[in-house]
Symmetry: C3
Subunit: 260 residues, 3 copies
């Protein structure tokens, strides 16, 4: 028996919005400690990792570890039927063929249940090595989304250059060149609005716009995003999922541009 109840059900709606463009299908690993999803995106370039801790749910029970392979397009369609203030419960048997999503309105006068068939998906569990990053940039998630969107008009790649003073995002193409510089925030009034750089050594890396733009679909989850970079290792773009977990996107830097 698996059952996970989340009063703040719209967090789950936002998680699906944050992954459904990258992943057509994926396996949710449910264990005593919580729920995890890890998968390469459809074109096998980037990696998505979602972690939802058991303690974050309002009710959580997982008698046996189960793996639920889901069509994320269908799951997203089902979650779109939940209102933003609905309580969402996921339920499954121990060897499940189906998963049930139950949505309860706060007044309990509307209760919906949706049953979806599960899929058998190849499991490719990917070890993500713990790394100390040369730079970790915390910045407003809306600002990061806007920068990625603006620069993708100019070229297919974005260069991110981080120094103690700030971060510079650049792109170049037929229209011309574009540089956006963010200074590290000197005095922090509101932590969410601040740009904070934790740097061991300066790093300059180049990434594909297309993927960065897909990662920013997670923006509604959290007012802040963190970018972790080290030379020659994948960038990590991380958003908190309320108090219950986080979503991480991994993307390897472009090698050619890095030589410049």
């Amino acid at each position: 028996m698996f059952e996970a109840r989340l009063v703040q059900g719209n967090l789950l709606k936002k998680v699906l919005d944050a992954i459904k463009d990258l992943l057509n299908e994926a396996s949710w690993d449910c264990a005593d400690s919580g729920i995890q999803l890890q998968a390469m995106d459809n074109s096998h370039v980037s990696l998505v990792s979602v972690n939802l801790r058991a303690e974050g749910f309002d009710k959580y029970r997982c008698d046996r570890n189960i793996i639920m392979g889901m069509d994320l397009t269908s799951m997203s369609k089902i979650l779109k039927c939940a209102a933003n203030d609905d309580i969402i419960t996921m339920k499954a048997q121990d060897n499940p063929d189906n998963v049930t999503f139950m949505f309860e309105s706060p007044s309990q006068e509307k209760v919906s249940d949706y049953e979806m068939k599960l899929m058998n998906l190849d499991q490719e569990h990917l070890g993500i090595p713990e790394t100390d990053y040369a730079c970790v940039i915390k910045m407003p998630s809306g600002e990061f989304a806007r920068i990625c969107r603006d620069l993708s008009q100019f070229g297919e790649s974005i260069v991110i250059a981080c120094t103690k003073e700030g971060v510079r995002f650049s792109a170049a193409g037929d229209i011309g060149t574009a540089n956006i510089k963010l200074a590290q925030t000197s005095s922090v009034d509101k932590e969410e609005d601040a740009v904070i750089i934790d740097m061991q050594e300066p790093v300059t890396l180049t990434f594909a716009c297309r993927y960065l733009n897909m990662f920013t679909k997670a923006t509604p989850l959290s007012p802040q995003v963190s970018l972790s970079m080290s030379p020659e290792v994948p960038l990590v773009v991380e958003y908190a999922i309320g108090e219950i977990g986080q979503i991480q996107y991994f993307l390897a830097p472009k090698i050619d541009d890095q030589d410049n």
Copy 2:
């Protein structure tokens, strides 16, 4: 001479929005008692009936009964030119070739008139028998629209099952199955938000999503909708048109699914 003046002109705009997707053209029957429209939808599956009482208008004069056949796409384009707070007047001669719509801004500083040719349409006046329905469900119109929209993702039909405790809307298809249950409201604070069931005997009927979704275009007309059902007779979906009348949609249940 026919003349009908409506200070709350946006009601007429909303009536057109509620019928223009179902009907390309239709006849407006104008008589001393008011204005009526009755027509099968373009695919001859459902029936639409609009009733506007003479007393509901701010000025109403109809010397002789007239029938005005109109292209509803053109009529809708004309009404889109009226601002939401405009006063709308319809005018025609006794044997009219044309109808005139006049829009006056509340300040009277902007006055528009639009003249449209009338059409000769075949008349098929359809008698709608008075029926005592086994179940009459009153519910918030926005909730009904949302349920129809949500369930149409799952299949082409919606099963509506009404009992004393409440109503269940269901659909099934490739993605899975969906059930939405609304409990009868126990204590009514605000009548518009309540689900109220007036039941002689329980009824379960199946309807085509496509038409239910078109009926919900009338949602802006009224905060409440009523669904009247009896076995083997058409469902009636009814919305009030302010204080001046009502719009009713009739849709026969699907026979095959009903056997299940």
Copy 3:
């Protein structure tokens, strides 16, 4: 050295929105007195004239007259990257190959610069004769935009007839005929909302909807528009650009319809 700094940078964003559908490319003439742009639209029917006075900028320097030919689609893409409250600075050398746009956030924590290649464009400087117009109509710009949009559903041309009492806009076509009459405002509470007519003699002229609708892209620049008309000369549609200048559109009347 050319440098023009505008604290109210969103005015420049709105100017581009007001011309980019009419003009693919155009030359900006920068001189000591300010910046001017004059060009026929892409189909060589109407004329656009933009005037930005040097005194209107928060900093303005132009050592030598320069002409900067720009791809307005690219320029518009760049200006879309400026936030509405950004300070915008344009910079170029004396014989420039490039122009630089710099956007500064009010807090100065985000600074962006965009460099764009300039183009060599044929110069066709068009003398616009000073004319005394028979009628000058001042009216709310939103009302003018709405009238042009509404009437373009009825036909390809709009007849504008101006008398001492007011203005009548008319169109006719397959759907029927449409007339919108605006009375001259008797007592003016708020100048922006008023319809004010300055008339030597009544004028009736016919214009192509398509162009009038493109001119109304300037609506966000100013709450008021002025229409200047005389028989057989082009209509002038003029919007103020904040305190710093104005944009004017010129459109010749249709001859055939005028004969009617």
